[in-house]
């Protein structure tokens, strides 16, 4: 009994120690990465390539998911709203849900599993096949040359993807609400415009997506760079990227929402 308790306490202590240690290590890595980001901007072509891989190649999944999420929102929303005779508010419901929450969050989750995992796997494999050591041996800092462009490529791509997701979702809501169900088109758009505020809703949504972009890409490059240089090491790191960054998105979303949308007026 006591032995089991002791073992459990030791495990807990070890988990906390390792967690705190990794957090500190991650923070130092982040600072180092920011300080050595010069190359990513001086030679923007390197970052451009990563925008292509993280952003352009995620377009299809983002656009299609956005469309469907918007269509489902409109279907479900209409069911509820028409019971209270306010189906014209459908536009408001769809737009606010997407712009404030679903756009940044769902786009972030998709981005984590599509682009984040790819970034981790690529950096991890480069490490496992000694490409990063080789670079180091050629007096080229792998953080500046390999990690920083991937980081900034992801950070730039994420808000664009979230905006596209929201826009596509609203279009999907329009298709189902106006074209399919027959909600009045004028009311759909004008109520939406009256209720959606550019600064409070749209700008805050964009800020969320930027924060999620930084979080997901940082976790992805860190896990890749820190991965044990073996096949299991890289596959484990890839899984951790998806799990950790999904949790980070949801937790950050709660914090940001509390800060942004509950402060009154």
């Amino acid at each position: 009994m006591l032995v089991a308790l002791r073992a459990a306490l030791i495990r807990l202590g070890a988990a906390v120690t390792v967690g705190v240690w990794r957090l500190g290590y991650g923070a130092r890595f982040f600072v180092y990465l920011i300080v050595h980001s010069g190359t990513a901007f001086r030679r923007f072509r390197l970052t451009m390539r990563e925008i292509y891989f993280a952003g352009v190649l995620s377009l299809i999944i983002i656009l299609v998911s956005g469309l469907f999420v918007g269509m489902v929102l409109a279907l479900q929303g209409y069911e509820t709203l028409q019971r209270y005779g306010s189906s014209e508010a459908l536009g408001v419901l769809v737009a606010l849900s997407l712009v404030r929450e679903l756009g940044p969050v769902v786009a972030g989750l998709l981005f984590a599993s599509r682009a984040g995992s790819a970034i981790t796997a690529e950096i991890g494999l480069m490490k496992a096949t000694e490409q990063l050591s080789a670079m180091e041996m050629m007096a080229v800092d792998p953080v500046a040359r390999v990690v920083a462009p991937r980081f900034w490529g992801g950070v730039i791509s994420m808000p664009v993807l979230a905006a596209l997701f929201s826009a596509m979702g609203i279009f999907g809501g329009y298709l189902v609400g106006v074209v399919l169900i027959g909600v009045d088109e004028g009311a759909f758009w004008s109520q939406m415009q009256a209720a959606v505020d550019v600064r409070n809703d749209i700008l805050n949504g964009v800020i969320k997506s930027v924060v999620f972009g930084v979080a997901v890409t940082l976790i992805a490059v860190f896990e890749g760079y820190d991965a044990p240089p073996t096949a299991e090491g890289v596959s484990g790191a890839t899984t951790r990227t998806v799990v950790t960054s999904s949790l980070a998105i949801l937790a950050l979303d709660f914090v940001l929402t509390a800060l942004m949308f509950t402060g009154g007026a």
């Binding site: 596209l164 826009a167 939406m192 550019v198 007026a265």
Partner: protein, 159 residues
Amino acid sequence: MNRSAIDLWVGVFVAIGLGALLFLALKVGNLASFSTAQTYQVEARFSNIGGLKVRAPVKSAGVVVGRVAQIRFDNESYEAVAVLTVDSSYKFPRDTSAKILTSGLLGEQYIGLEAGADARMLAGGERMRITQSAVVLENLISQFFFNKAAEGGDAKSAK
């Protein structure tokens, strides 16, 4: 994948991203209808504004003609002061009245303007004299019960 193809795709990507943001700002949000138009500001005082919020619409005959720009409390008269931004293309007589109304039974609150008959028009910075405060549901209900009770009391005493 050669360089110019990547450049092209990234260009397209950023362009449609900006397009989406523009769509959100102009078509979904209300950036277009305000930042560009000329406006003037008038003041209205209420003894109670109920649940009126900044940015709530100002309507006349059901048409949105402006928005609530600012709400503050005047510590001298103990009244709420609402500053309304009205589109310059709409002019109202000086004796126009402002009411706080509710869209639907439980909907959001807005300010309704009812035009008067004065020959002079309201100018920027002026104050609307005739106002009607928000109907507060609690007051309404307690008033209702108070009246009922009073009626009951009268009936009893009449007996």
